[in-house]
């Protein structure tokens, strides 16, 4: 949204380039000779982030967006692929050699309680970057910490308090202050406002936007809340089961979604006006997200996609411009949506065995006839609000 971010979507040079990033986690507890299984948390993801922009990443819980963020910050060792940050390949360097680079890549975490050490005072938490990189000590460190506290809207007199003495929004400001101590080039915000009250969300987002303007920061903004992402991002990537399904400038993505998954996500965003919200048709996806241990073949969305065709089962669609879009708008879909297309009009043309089968007995829809409240037929319906509740912690 350009009213927040001054940098146009394709202005600025490339700060971060991620190429075919793969991150698998081994699953423990398998028998000795059994083949080892892996959670395909991030599978072959590529994108670029330009200097000064905000790159949003949305997706449901468990789609791999946090793993992606942490992999870029090299909190995980990656399985395969390349991460080029500011001209340097950081995909293989050791944790020890990564340390000086951490001044340039910072993270803001989701949990305002868990991300602050409960047994340490706020002044020493915010002073950590200076202590770790030995750039300021004693009164100089205290002065700089208090400057940071003031900058993010905290009372510098609260230097000696414990994190538990602050509210959720204030704690997130502490996290922001700590991340900004060195004015990093890239800040990875891992759901920075998801755990906050709505009014506090706006405050923290405005703070992040102000700081971006002031210091020329680049953000990767991970969230499951579409309206927040639209508000802050220049470009948005949608993730599903470890893959990126669509990348586009924020407004393009929201106006002309190409991937049916994006379409379904957008239809789940509640509208503030109840009259409008009644008019709109929500697309309700069938079934649950498949297991990332054994993801579906071809397009990973095909078992739930209303437009699924045989080609979706056999071929993994490439992430490329579809239906005459510009190079900035790419979608990984064989059968992209045209503008104004209604997903509810489609029936999949693949065999029923390829569709998601509801686990028997477990919360089957016919056992709970009124559970969904709207009874759209079609057996069990699991609405797909990747949106989450924006709820309180």
């Amino acid at each position: 949204m350009s009213d927040v971010n001054p940098v146009p979507p394709d202005g600025g040079d490339i700060l971060l380039q991620v190429e075919n990033l793969v991150k698998y986690f081994p699953v423990k507890g398998t028998a000795f000779f059994q083949q080892r299984e892996y959670v395909h948390a991030v599978d072959d993801v590529s994108f670029t982030v330009r200097r000064g922009e905000t790159f949003g990443i949305v997706g449901e819980t468990g789609c791999g967006k946090s793993t992606l963020g942490r992999s870029i910050a090299r909190l995980h060792d990656i399985t395969a692929g390349r991460i080029v940050f500011d001209g340097r390949d950081i995909s293989k360097i050791s944790q020890r050699r990564m340390r000086p680079l951490r001044r340039e890549i910072q993270m803001i975490f989701q949990d305002p309680i868990g991300s602050l050490n409960p047994r340490r005072r706020v002044g020493s938490i915010i002073g950590d970057p200076f202590a770790i990189h030995r750039t300021a000590t004693g009164t100089e460190r205290k002065r700089r910490v208090q400057e940071l506290m003031e900058r993010v809207g905290l009372n510098p007199e609260h230097y000696n308090r414990f994190p538990a003495e602050f509210s959720g929004g204030q704690r997130q400001r502490i996290g922001v202050a700590r991340a900004l101590a060195f004015q990093p080039k890239l800040v990875i915000c891992d759901e920075p406002v998801s755990a906050l009250d709505v009014s506090i969300q706006a405050q923290v987002i405005n703070l992040l936007a102000d700081l971006q303007k002031e210091f020329g920061l680049t953000y990767i903004f991970i969230a499951h809340d579409l309206s927040v992402v639209r508000h802050v991002s220049n470009n948005v990537a949608v993730m599903y089961l470890g893959k990126m399904t669509e990348i586009a400038p924020a407004d393009d993505l929201f106006d002309t979604p190409r991937h049916p998954y994006t379409g379904a996500l957008l239809s789940a965003v509640p509208l503030p006006d109840p009259d409008h919200s009644d008019e709109r048709q929500q697309i309700v996806l069938v079934g649950d997200v498949p297991s990332p241990i054994a993801p579906p073949s071809g397009c990973r969305f095909h078992p739930r996609c209303p437009k699924a065709a045989p080609v979706c089962v056999t071929q993994d669609p490439k992430l490329e411009p579809r239906l005459g879009d510009g190079p900035g708008h790419t979608a990984a879909c064989h059968l992209p949506m045209a503008q104004g297309e209604n997903l509810a009009d489609f029936k999949p043309s693949i065999g029923a065995e390829e569709r998601v089968i509801e686990p028997e007995g477990v919360l089957a829809a016919d056992a709970l006839p009124d559970a969904s409240g709207n009874g759209t037929g079609d057996g069990s319906t699991v609405a797909l609000p990747a949106s989450g509740e924006g709820g309180k912690s």
Binding site: L75, M107, Q170
Partner: protein, 324 residues
Amino acid sequence: MSMVPEVTGGGSQATLEAAAEPIPVGRKIIQGRSPWRLAWERLRTDRAAIISTATIAVIILLALLAPLIAHWLGHGPNQQFVDIGEDENGNPIGPNGTFWFGTDSSARDLFVRTIYGARISLSIGVLATLVSIAIGTVFGLAAGYLGGVADALIARFIDVVLAVPFLVIAISVASIWRPSFWLVIFVVGVLGFSYPARIVRGQVISLKEKEFVQSARALGAGPLRIMFVDLLPNVVALVIVYGSLLIPAAIVAEATLSFLGVGVQPPTADWGAMISDAQGYYQYGYWWYLLFPSLALLITTLAFNILGDSVRDALDPRGGGIYK
């Protein structure tokens, strides 16, 4: 679902503006209290804690003032009163105005020896516990945070130490080197590290998944800094609780070693050795010889145990923290 203001309309922009006004600061209504202060306040109102602390304070005072008391009574701890401290057969005499706790088989003042024994018990109890928790905390932090090979090695080593009977090791070590005050501290301290190590390790394994550890890594902190700056403050409460329960265990272990003759050597006054000496006498009516050193040991360990329980309740009000 989110109710973050829709940004397409102009009105919602105003909402954002309004929400961004500065947070009012400076009004102090609620005084913030640190976790330690809260624990201290809980401890202060716990009657068992007060009584046990008072008991321990008296014991410590007696131990500290032992030379003064001995001087005032005119009875040295190793002084033999062949004339007045023995009956005609050379056996101990019972409590009286001169010898409050009676005398022992060498005609020494049992009261003076008992308060001198407190010096040994308390100092070995505390020092051995410090050794245990220092080693245990470092090993536990390393095993829990580093994981992998380091964890496997340390965890197996702990298993081995726990599997071999304490006394077998202690007696072997004491027979290789000459038994002494420092050797007892070494043996009791080193062999006691496994319990705090296990507990710290478990706590660290659950803590290291917390985001504050991830954020420390993201800031560029190395493993040593994360272990000792970020994780250590979070296990200190646990270590204090466990340490306060280890003190009585160390006192008993020390008394056991002395009882078996591989602890602090005579003629140093020591409760374990005194109980051991009394073995050949109490059956024949010399009850005070056994009673007073045993009572001293019992009261001391009981007081430390009760205080340890209270400390645990104060630091971890959910209860049962360390036994989970």
